[in-house]
Amino acid sequence: MTATTPSTPAVPAGSRTMTGTTTRATTRKPVRLRSRAPHSVARPRRSVLMTVLTGIVLLYALVPLFWLVVNASKTQSSLFSSFGLWFSGDFALFDNIARTLTYDGGIFGRWFANTLLYVVLGAGGATFLAVLGGYALAKFDFPGKRGVFATVIGAVAVPGTALAVPTFLMFSQMGLTNTPWAVIIPSLISPFGLYLMWVFAAESIPTELLEAARVDGSSEGRTFFQVSLPLLAPGIVTVLLFTMVATWNNYFLPLIMLKDPDWYPLTLGLNAWNAQAATAGGEAIFDLVITGSLLTILPLVAAFLLLQRYWQSGLAAGSVKE
């Protein structure tokens, strides 16, 4: 069926979906331009150019990961003396992992636990607040709603880095610096997450449904938890992934706020290890930095693999008009 490749998509752009599993939901007649054979989602059009481009992007994304795995398996001396993209010398991965976990009194484990704490409280809290706020903004009317909208949109544009130093000065007055709260509290604010939940809630929860629930005598709280929350699940997962990655990778805020290595997240800790190589008298431990980096990304990889199903359907939601 690929005899003539049409230069324009045969189906209206609005009805294309990102996943291969969803079928076309349009009832409108497909607009035919020069094609006799419309390409459904189930039978996507093949393009050599797109395949090559996707391949390059894939390679670009995977090569650093591959490099990380390969080099985490090397000893420090073969790290420097061998080709970077292939295994060489003794396979030292397990030895490296053991040394990473025990170096300097096992502080890596502590950093790992700190990062988990920041992610659970910071990203979890940010998602919770974004869901509550987004839902309220989408489904309730109150004075000043437009003002809130403008503030949120404005806040999306301000990078967190720009706020770090003023936040530091403020937290310092409050005696919060050098405590975990200094990292967790700013992480609770996610303007982009709020915006995303707002849009998502507006699209995915029919107002009629809420009205029906109210008519049936359900309280607002019960309506939220039992009716709305399940509908919001894909959006929640999306926001959770975004805030989780952001908190997991957060570097600048903890750098400004924390001085005590016992409270460092992994990002700062690994950087401190890396800096050792650039210190007079410091021990160069590139092998441990690399192995530590590998261990650091594993939970994120796991989270993506586990949540991507929800995430995909989350991204696709709203693209189909029902």
Partner: protein, 446 residues
């Protein structure tokens, strides 16, 4: 670190300095840092009475010193915090000082950064606590570096008299003489690179510390400071001499385009593509841990000279421990400084591989007679200690050197990557530094 974070850090460092200068202005007359510091007797009493001290330092050998110190003075509890290395720590320190909270009692400060902190009254004057009795304890370079005007704002911890570390195997293999002058250095660079195009005499992508050290050795005095009167002349004789010689190396592509301290750098030092390093005397410990493949191949020679037969040297790196002005227990803090940098702590640090700043340790037979296995049994400390006593006098850093160094790559560094010459780069560095200094309220002459 990515370029973006470095930029961000720089921006913050710059803001920090401004905030610091403002803080210094506002606290003007009142609370004078040295006035309530106490006396030497107070130090003994404070050590006896005890308390807890927070120390911000990244020097690895301090861990042992803290353990020993706590054993000696059981009432004192020292919390050693690695708040970052170099610039990271200064940013943190400046932020803490600006915020007025969370300032440590003791901080590690490199010599180039010390004037900046001392002048903005962030550090306590240690003279009355007993530092004025320590004349002659330290080698002249570091001792000169911790003094600003009438005050003593830290005790030297380590020093970095320069020497030429070289891969002897490489020189023998290609039949090239180890250079004793900088002209000879250029010759050797050509010879090595011609013999094997993958070999470079050294790496340099523009490093403020290295450049200033070589200008220092050449007798240049580009930065002169008298209180808040600053003179910057990066076109003086010493600077010009450096620029001309180094321009040749850049023009002929004889420098490895590798940044110091990167993994590529360690790789190059190990695999014989970087043949020499003109660097501070603290380098042996880093070579041993970072370049295990180089064991037995490396040697140390005196720094090449600008004039045949001379014996001039300069300092590269090195740091002091200082007591902060905001510390509420300056006497106790000074007690720790004295233990770590002038007392029993020195030996513990030398044993850990640090290069001391104290004359007694430098001149001791044990230190000088040490035969380094890594350096093929060479008595490297003889060369390094000699360099410490050959340091050219009269050098000073800018009272805003941390900022100046942070813009080095945007100015002088251009000579390494574009058609700009080093002379133009130094001029640009001077202009930008003059502008900044004037904005900060200094009287800057060119």
């Amino acid at each position: 670190m990515s370029i973006r974070t470095t930029r961000a850090l720089r921006a913050v460092a710059a803001t920090g300095v401004v905030a610091l200068a403002l803080a210094a202005c506002s606290s003007g007359g009142g609370n004078d840092s040295g006035a309530d510091a106490g006396s030497a007797d107070d130090v003994a009493a404070a050590l006896e009475e005890g308390g807890s001290l927070t120390v911000w330092a990244w020097e690895p050998t301090l861990e042992q010193v803290v353990t020993d110190f706590e054993a000696e003075y059981p009432n004192v509890d020292v919390e050693l915090v690695n708040a970052g290395t170099g610039n990271d720590q200064y940013t943190a320190l400046q932020n803490a000082i600006a915020a007025g909270k969370g300032v440590p009692d003791v901080a590690q400060v490199e010599y180039y950064a010390l004037p900046q902190f001392a002048l903005s009254e962030a550090l306590a004057d240690l003279s009355s606590l007993g530092a004025d009795q320590l004349d002659g304890t330290f080698t002249p370079g570091p001792w000169n570096a911790v003094q600003q005007g009438e005050g003593i704002f830290g005790l030297p911890m380590d020093s970095g008299p320069m020497a030429l570390f070289y891969n002897e195997e490489l020189f023998t293999q290609h039949g090239v003489e180890v250079p004793t002058t900088w002209d000879g250095f250029v010759e050797a660079a050509r010879a090595l690179h011609a013999a094997d195009p993958s070999v470079y005499i050294t790496n340099d992508t523009g490093d403020a510390g290295f450049t200033t050290s070589l200008i220092w050795q050449a007798g240049g005095q580009p930065f002169q400071v008298d209180g808040t009167d600053v003179t910057i002349d990066l076109a003086d004789e010493g600077s010009t001499q450096f620029a001309e010689t180094w321009q040749t190396l850049i023009d002929e592509d004889l420098l490895a385009p590798v940044s110091s301290w990167s993994d590529e750098w360690y790789q190059g030092l190990g695999n014989g593509t970087i043949a020499t390093l003109a660097i501070g005397a603290w380098m042996p410990a880093n070579l041993e841990s970072g370049v295990p493949d180089g064991a037995g191949k490396w040697r140390v020679a005196p720094l090449p000279q600008w004039e045949e037969g001379a014996s001039a040297s300069s300092e590269n790196g090195g740091s002091a421990l200082s007591v902060t002005a905001a510390s509420s227990q300056q006497a106790l803090a000074y007690g720790f400084l004295e233990y770590a940098n002038a007392g029993d702590g020195v030996q513990a640090r030398v044993d850990g591989g640090a290069f001391p700043a104290t004359t007694a340790e430098l001149e001791s037979d044990e230190f000088q007679g040490y035969e380094s296995e890594y350096f093929g049994g060479q008595k490297i400390n003889e060369v390094l200690a000699q360099s410490a006593s050959d340091v050219v006098e009269g050098w000073s850093y800018l009272p805003f050197q941390v900022y100046a160094n942070s813009i080095f790559n945007d100015t002088v560094g251009q000579a390494y990557v574009s058609g700009t010459t080093l002379t133009d780069g130094l001029k640009a560095w001077q202009d930008a530094s003059v502008k900044y200094g004037t904005e900060q309220g200094f009287t800057v002459n060119e």
